[in-house]
């Protein structure tokens, strides 16, 4: 799971709850990690958010395992009360024609709301929607590499018509996130569960790595090998038998031939 969060104060409750450790070294963004989570503090605004999301994508090996991406932060809102948590079901921006509709598959009680990403802090609360400064560029970047069901934006209302931005006390930012932490962590777990449904399991990945290292396969041969390995998996052919058939051969070409030969009798629906 990857979190992209604009302010350190917004990130703190999550860093504490998930026991994330700061990654040392010279990184473009403050980054915190444990075995399963990565949190990047982006700074305010669209450019910072896009940059931090791209940086996080680069570090997360999204191609092997579809890690969810979650943008969390505070936002203004035209109708919701201060402290209310909402999930964005439509994200748009003043200067972009693209509108995002994050598919909502997680069954949760979180309120849904449209969200407009603005260039400058918003002081006009006319419409029933949220106002932030990062979500649109976060979504643009993350959804290029991660399936959209796993890219979500949740915000906590910090200001509205009755408590406008000018009266907002920045010291309460962490408190706003902290109060909603149980719900946020529930969503995190649900998104992780969803991601697992479409991820190859660790053993499959390890088996694939072993098979790929059994011979010197060219790129085209690797493609064919992965296809044959998937076929062998679909028929539950023993992994040891497959690795042996690959290793017994003295060239990549004959290894592929041997594997195809091994699978052939299984190729029928039972």
């Amino acid at each position: 799971m990857n979190f992209i969060i604009a302010l350190q104060a917004e990130a703190k409750p999550l860093i504490d709850a998930l026991k994330l450790k700061k990654v040392s070294g010279s990184l473009p963004f403050p980054t915190f990690q444990n075995d399963n989570h990565q949190l990047v503090v982006s700074g305010i605004g669209k450019i910072a958010s896009a940059g931090a999301t791209g940086f996080s994508l680069g570090k997360s090996h999204a191609q092997d395992h579809p890690f969810p991406f979650l943008n969390i932060g505070i936002a203004g809102h035209g109708s919701l009360g201060v402290g209310t948590l909402f999930i964005a079901d439509r994200i748009f921006s003043e200067n972009h024609s693209s509108i995002y509709y994050p598919p909502q598959l997680v069954d949760s009680e979180i309120i849904r709301s449209p969200l407009q990403t603005c260039e400058l802090p918003n002081r006009d609360y006319q419409e029933k929607k949220g106002y932030d400064m990062e979500a649109h560029s976060f979504y643009t970047t993350a959804s290029k590499c991660v399936t959209r069901e796993l890219v979500q934006v949740i915000k906590i209302v910090s200001d509205n018509l009755h408590q406008p931005l000018d009266t907002f006390n920045p010291k309460v930012v962490s408190k706003l996130v902290e109060t909603n932490l149980p719900t946020i962590l529930g969503l995190v777990r649900s998104l992780e569960k969803l991601a697992n449904e479409i991820s190859p399991d660790r053993e499959t990945l390890a088996f694939r790595r072993d098979a790929l290292h059994s011979q010197n396969f060219t790129e085209t041969q690797t493609h064919l090998l992965v296809q044959l390995l998937n076929h062998s998996k679909s028929f539950d052919i023993e992994e040891a038998k497959i690795l042996q058939s690959l290793k017994n051969e003295n060239s990549a070409k004959s290894a592929l031939k041997a594997l195809a030969h091994l699978i052939e009798p299984y190729r029928i629906l039972s």
């Binding site: 439509r90 509108i99 909502q104 598959l105 399936t147 029928i268 039972s270």
Partner: protein
Amino acid sequence: MIEYIYFEVGIEDHPRTQEFFRRFPKATKIPCNHYKEVFNPRGQSFRLQKKNPALILAKQNGKKIHPIPASYGVGGSQNFYFSHLLNCLYDCRYCFLQGMFPSAHYVLFVNFEDFQSEIKKKHDDLGDSPSWFFSGYDCDSLALESLTGFAQDFIPFFRKLPNSWLEIRTKSIASQVLEKTDPLDNAVVAFSFTPEEISQQLEHKVPSVQSRIKAMKKLANLGWKIGLRIDPIIDCVDFNTRYAKLFEQLITALPAESLHSVSLGAFRMPTGFFRSIQKLYPKEQLFSGKLEKKNGNIAYRAEIEKERISTCQSLLLSHIPKEKLYLCDPVEIK
């Protein structure tokens, strides 16, 4: 249960849209300018969305009736299909929709009246020559009837067009809408089948073969014409025994006069669709079968395809006259 309804702002006031809003008061309603903003973006997971598809209400502004080759028909010389709905309640592993559409959300085109005026125009243009209109090309015609009201709306409409035939293709047993109305002389309710074991393995969420036979029999006894669609034919162990048993079950369930046609179709899928579906379900045995690429499609190796079709043909011809048997020639993609 529909939890999300996306709707094009242009059809917000359409009576059918308003009816949905009334029926699903708790659903979150999200406006969009065009359904493609929600449905078309790349990078959506059909597999994940299939768990809980949203409903998208839209207007079909483009062409609504499309020609299909006579080789796909069941005796008519003018054949058309139309799609009032994109996507399906069921989840057949061989379904090309999973490869064709980027999203599993249901798109319902609410402007039935525009579909009907295009059909009417076609009917008028074609004069006396009978034409066929196939529904259920991008969906199952009846599975979501309680949601869409498609048959309820189109059956009375086709009753006024005696030269135009309607095929309602389905794997559903939700046939109450047909049971409640007089059979339509110019309609065929076409049920698709694979043998029970194959259905259990590949046709997820589809009612059992037995319950479909029961529903089909009931409609036949009420006077509806029935079509049998053995499409796609799936290669499997004990092929002959399984298909022989299926045909026996189907034919004995139907009064001979109610059987309109039987059609056979080989398993074929455009290569691009096949590759997309294979990525969704890399461990699916169906995709590891004895398949090959031919003319832009993935299909069973030629000798297997030929053998399986010919087996089905001879098995069926021991039950039905050859005039009722049709072979669906696949469209070759160049």
